[in-house]
Point group: C2
Chain length 428, copies 2
């Protein structure tokens, strides 16, 4: 099949008729499929069930520093869990603070604290007329929701295959002191699966922002979430790079075990410079007596060490890989050469990002829904839910079974074809 744009009106009409018949047939099946959220599958959850037996009523629940994990005490995380998550985040264990079950919650708290107390002595952002964040797009909707919630103006920065457009980032942060942060998912990015290149990370570390309280929000959510054992993306460690560049305080790094052990019942952490962590602990001490140490201990004893965690991630990869391949195969087979959409085959993470023809994303998602397939809302990958080109759609292959996923992707490509033809017919 040649590219759709090269077809005549008649050819398009004929093709449309054929696809509509196919679509009607699928609709009649009354399917209920969901490719909308990055949820691990039941099979993946089962991988961590051993965690339930690690701590028992006859277990010693005293952690390495000699504290009974069942009682109050230890504000910022027990030693063995700090070591595990520090290794996971590739930072020294003194540069990590363990929180509760959600790294999103840490990011929220970090922005909230900056609003009310500023950053290391700067003016509280609530007292400023204007605060802005840079948002590489497409990006993660929940990041954008936090900044929107606090009335922070979001400025789009286009993603490239190397990461955010660094010429633009450098220019904007250097000239505008109201820019206080940038949201980054630097490895296997949400939704594109892009890993920032060495040069991009280097340029991040060497930023010279006008605002002294500018911080890089480095959400390394998929740091060890590879799809292949032999083909990994590598990401330069940002804390060390910032330190080398004389910018040790410029970055907050976030991560969690949500997609390693159990989403919602995992462990999260922030890594940052000593000065940043001192400020974070100061707030933390007001906010809580401490997070769930029993669960911290459960994680440390289950994974034992980073090597154990890496082995565990291979099992996740074995489940995820065929799903990603199924989606990518169908996209390639059904849409390859039609020039009505593009995508990237990622080597890790939780998503495949699809770029439809301009002005088609919303219609495609609506079309898929007609046939019982729920996709992430079109626009969700952009601040304020507004994709200026109405083009990007996030595909989340993790949760459905392989069978469901094949059907879901068939519906998706059918929807893409139909909406694209309609668009082309309009424009002829």
């Amino acid at each position: 099949m040649p590219a759709y744009k090269d077809l005549s009106r008649e050819e398009l009409e004929a093709q449309k008729k054929e696809l509509e018949l196919e679509f009607e047939k699928v609709k009649q099946k009354n399917l209920k499929l969901d490719m909308s959220r990055g949820k691990p599958s039941t099979e993946q959850l089962n991988l961590s069930m051993g965690m339930m037996d690690v701590l028992r009523s006859d277990s010693d629940l005293v952690c390495e520093e000699g504290v009974d994990c069942r009682n109050y005490g230890v504000l910022d995380g027990i030693r063995e869990t700090k070591q595990l998550l520090a290794d996971m985040m590739e930072v020294p264990k003194d540069n990590i603070v363990i929180f509760g079950n959600s790294s999103l919650n840490i990011m929220y708290d970090t922005v909230a604290r900056s609003m009310t107390h500023g950053v290391m002595g700067s003016t509280p952002w609530m007292k400023l007329d204007k605060v802005k964040f840079l948002c590489p797009v497409p990006g993660y909707d929940r990041h954008f929701t936090i900044t929107e919630h606090f009335g922070i103006e979001m400025v789009n920065v286009p993603m490239t295959p190397e990461g955010p457009d660094m010429d633009l980032v450098e220019k904007l942060v250097a000239e505008d002191a109201s820019i206080k942060g940038i949201w980054c998912v630097p490895k296997y990015s949400n939704p594109q699966g892009i890993t920032y290149s060495d040069e991009t990370v280097h340029r991040f570390a060497w930023l010279r922002p006008a605002a002294e309280d500018f911080r890089i929000y480095w959400d390394n959510a998929y740091g060890i979430h590879h799809l292949y054992e032999d083909k990994h993306d590598y990401l330069i460690e940002i804390l060390m790079e910032c330190k080398k560049a004389g910018n040790p305080d410029m970055v907050y790094k976030f991560a969690s075990t949500s997609k390693i052990s159990f989403p919602g019942s995992g462990i999260s952490a922030i890594a940052a410079s000593d000065a940043n962590l001192a400020e974070i602990r100061k707030q933390m001490k007001v906010q809580t007596i401490g997070h769930d140490k029993v669960n911290q201990l459960r994680h440390a004893r289950f994974f034992k060490d980073i090597s154990g965690m890496v082995q565990h991630m291979h099992k996740h990869a074995d489940i995820m890989r065929p799903k990603f391949e199924a989606v990518l195969d169908t996209l390639e087979r059904e849409l390859g050469g039609l020039e009505i959409g593009s995508w990237i085959a990622p080597r890790g993470g939780y998503f495949i990002s699809f770029d439809a023809m301009e002005g088609c994303a919303k219609a495609i998602v609506a079309k898929a829904k007609e046939a019982g397939l729920v996709m992430t809302d079109a626009g969700a990958t952009y601040p304020y839910g507004k994709d200026p080109k109405d083009s990007n759609i996030r595909i989340a292959p993790s949760y459905p079974t392989l069978e469901e996923l094949k059907t879901a992707t068939e519906i998706f490509v059918l929807s893409v074809k139909l909406v694209s033809i309609e668009k082309l017919l309009e424009d002829i």
Copy 2:
């Protein structure tokens, strides 16, 4: 022994000499004792060890609403845990939202949200020149730390045996619109063990504050933490009382299982009106995908229902009661009639509050420390750590063993006597 104030200088000097000898003897023992924090003892923690076996690798982790607790989903708490904590908090289960492991964290978030977003549409407190909270004193230091952290001015309100001085509370909230809240521990209060009388709760519900965004912060931390099975304090349920008074939105109620299951690994909750909870959920949705449902399920299955939880609390009471009695017996035996201090025998909670002669509390705590006994810092029960009379000392009998506690209380009364005599000698 007659009251110290009726002794002559010579009698006081003689008494002092004797006590000093005794004190030197104790000092020589190089003891290390701690009556400073309301931590459950190891024996109490052991009561909940069965919780470790409730969920196992072969358990079904699906909750009542059919959700797999191991995955994302269910923002505000699973049904069975809502029911359990709603019963514990004596509110309908629709008026409760479950959070993470710390009710202090909920209180912090509640104040933080009011700072940045106001309360149900009111001006964010950060945008106001002055925000004040009423603080019944003596009270809980961690409450005061939260308001201090946000630059909220704290106004002392004296406690009476019935609760806070309601004449003063009514007057202040009616005339000063900058008063936005009041911190309350209404049952077995921290540190006095006072339960607010029916009339006090009624008057709270009928407050007519000048500020529409005034809220009662009702920290019912010790709602079921009785010392006796047959002698309970009873507290009128504040949500219903506020509803009856036409003030349904005026109260936030907080509680947790920290001193029921495991401190730091329990479950916390907020109870409030539909309108308040709608606002809370709106924020919560930005802050997190959800709290730890596995731990929620663990609690629900371990306690089964409120009756199971009440039975469990009897076991705590059996451990706590002799400790409280040991302290109270020693206070009575050693200080009774001396008129150098007063205290209340509580029927629940975690503390005994001791009021020394004016100007003696700091010196007593320092004296006790000389002999190896750590007490809560004098002043900690007041905002800004400033007890205007330097009189109140909080005694926390829960953590030490009964033996340790007896020795600790001996050191304490010895310190009280010595410091009081020195004070009296100064004033003669």
